[in-house]
Homo-oligomer: 337 residues x 2
Amino acid sequence: MSSPPPAATPPTSADVARLAGVSRATVSFVLNDTAGGRVSEQTRQRVRAAATELGYVPHAAARSLRAGRTGVVLLVGSSAPIGPLFSRFYRELQSALRRHGYTSVLYGPSPGEGDEPARAWAELRPAAVLCLEPVLTPAGVELLHRSGTRAVFTLGTAPVAGAHALMMDQREVGATAGAHLLAAGRRRLGVVVPTDPGLDQFSGPRLAGVRAAAASALAGPVHALPLDWTEASGATAAERCRELGLDGVFGYNDEYAMLLLRSLQEAGLDVPGRIALVGADDLLLGRLLRPRLSTVHMTLPGGEALAALIDGVIADPASTPATSNLLTVRLIPRDSG
Amino acid sequence: MSSPPPAATPPTSADVARLAGVSRATVSFVLNDTAGGRVSEQTRQRVRAAATELGYVPHAAARSLRAGRTGVVLLVGSSAPIGPLFSRFYRELQSALRRHGYTSVLYGPSPGEGDEPARAWAELRPAAVLCLEPVLTPAGVELLHRSGTRAVFTLGTAPVAGAHALMMDQREVGATAGAHLLAAGRRRLGVVVPTDPGLDQFSGPRLAGVRAAAASALAGPVHALPLDWTEASGATAAERCRELGLDGVFGYNDEYAMLLLRSLQEAGLDVPGRIALVGADDLLLGRLLRPRLSTVHMTLPGGEALAALIDGVIADPASTPATSNLLTVRLIPRDSG
DNA sequence: GTGTAACGCTTACTCGTGTAAGCAGCCATG
DNA sequence: CATGGCTGCTTACACGAGTAAGCGTTACAC
C-alpha cells in the first residue's frame, strides 16, 4: 500500500519521543495523563501528534510487566453445550468485566493432571480465575495464589478449599421438579440423564435432587433414563418408561424433555394422562408444545453483579472465601404434568 | 495454611537461581531445554528441584515481551445469541488453537468508533485477530498490521481490505430455501426477520438471498416478517401471512420457524397445505415437529482446519489476503414444505 | 610443555513501559 | 545578590525473562 515497508517492528514510545523531540518519560506522562510530571500544553500536543502520526499503540505485556498486575480474568471451561440461559449470563459477564477494565481470556478444557492446568493458567498472572469445570484442586488454588492471582472462583461445581464458590445448585433444580411430580401424586419417577459427557456435572446433581425429594416423600426408587440426543435413543427411553411403569419424569431440561415427549407420544403413552413430564429452562419452545411443557424456571443474577463481586475480591483479596448461591429456581406448572 | 506468609510476590527465575546456587541464565537454559547452553545433569536436577520447591511459574508477559511475539489469538465478537452449530464450531476452534500453542482471548463488542476498537486489540500484540462482527475497517486492519499482528481474519461478514475473509455466505442459505420453495410452486414468499439486533448480520443476507432467488424465478415481491422471540409476535406474524396471502415462508432458522409454525397452526393456516415453511440449522427439534420441518442444513469445516489455516498465515504473513468460503448448505426436504 | 578444543557456567544486554529522583532555568522573596 | 521554590523536562532504574558472547577449567593431542 502507501505505507512504508510493512513496519518490521511496531512503533514504541521511544519512537514517539524521538519524533516529538522529547524524552521517553515525557511521552509516558503525556499519554497517561500522569499527575507526577507537569508538561506544558505545547509539548503535550507535539507528543500526541507524534503518537497518532506513527500509529503508536502501547504494549500491554510491557505495561503489565512493569505494573505487576494484568487486568486479565481467566475463564476456564465452557466446553459443554450449555443452554441459552447460561450462555447469555456468560456473555453478560464478559461485557461487564470489560466495563470494569478487565480482559477476559478463555481457556478451553485443560489437558493436564493435578496442578498442571493451574500452572498453565498461572503463567498469565491473571488477576482472577473463574473456573467453570470441576478441574481445580486445592493445590491448584494454592499455586494460583502463590503466583499472584488475587481471586479464585469456582462456578457451579462443588466448592474447592481456598476458592470462592459461586454455587449453581443443580440438586435444587431436580428437587423442585421432583417435589412437583410427587405433589401431583406421581410415585414411580424417572429422570432423563443425557449421555453427553459435558453435561455430567449438571445431570448428576439434578438426578440426586429428584432422588432426595423422593426419599423425603417416601416414594419408590427413582430410575435414571440415559438419553443421547437422537430420536432412536428417545424411542428407547420411551419404551423403558413403559416397562418400568413410570408415571412421572423429569426431562433434564426442556430440550431433552421435548425429545422424550415426542417419543412418548409416538409410543402411545399419554402425557400427562399416563406420564407427567417436567422440563427445565423455561424455554419459549416448551410453551409451543402440546401439551405445554411444565418446567423449572431458573434465574441467575446479572453478569454485572458477578463482575462487581469479582472486582471487589480482587481489590481486597484478604477476604475469606465465601460460598454463595447464584441460582434461584421455581416451578412453572403448565399442561404436561 | 502451612505456606509462608502468602508470598507477597510470586517467585521469579532469579529466586530459583538463588536457591539452586546458579545463575539466572542457567535456570532459563534448564527450564527451556535450550540447546545453546550445555548444563550438567546434576545442575539440571538442582534447578528443577528448586523450581518445584518454590512453585515457580514463568511469567507469560515477560516472556513474550522478550520474545517479541505473544501466541495470542484475539477473537472479537460473539455477542449474538448464536445457534448450537456455530457455538460448537467456535469451541472447537478454541481447542484447536490451544493445541497449536495459541491462547484465545475474547473481546466482546467493542465500544469505540473507527480505529478505536482495533487500537484496543493491538495493545495485546496478538499474533492473529479473528473478527466475527462487522466492526473492522480497512484503517483498523492497517493499524493492526503496523502494530505487529501477523494475520487478520474476518469471519462471516463482508471482506475488509487487507484482511483474509472467511465467508459464511448467509445469502446462500436464503437462496437455497427460496429456490426450494419456488421449485415447489410457491410464488408469494415471506421471510422471517428476527428483531434481535445481534442477528442483523445473518438475517439481512438471508432475506436478500431469498429475494435473489425469487427475482431469478420471476416471482413476485418477497415480504419480510419481523418477529420477536415471543408468542404474541408469532401470532402477529401469522396474521400477516394470511393478509398477504403468502404460500411459502423461510423461517430464518428452525427455532423461529418452529415459533411461526405453531402460530400458523393456531391461526388455522395449514402447513404445508396452505403455507410451506422452511427452517435452517437442521436441529433435532425440527424433526420432532408435526409436520416435520424442512430445513437448510449447514456444514462448517472443523475448527481444527481453521486453526491450521490461521497458524499457516501467522507463519507466513506475506501471503496475500484470500477470500474463502466456509459454509456449504443443502436443503433437507421433510414435511413442512 | 604448550596449543586447542570442549565443557559448564556466568556476565551483560535486550524487549517496552512506568515512575521516582534529579536537574536546569526562571521568578520571587528576603 | 543569594536563597528558595516552582516549572518543565530528563536521567536512570525496575519489572521478568531469553540469549549471544565470554571466560575459567579440564582434557586431550601433538
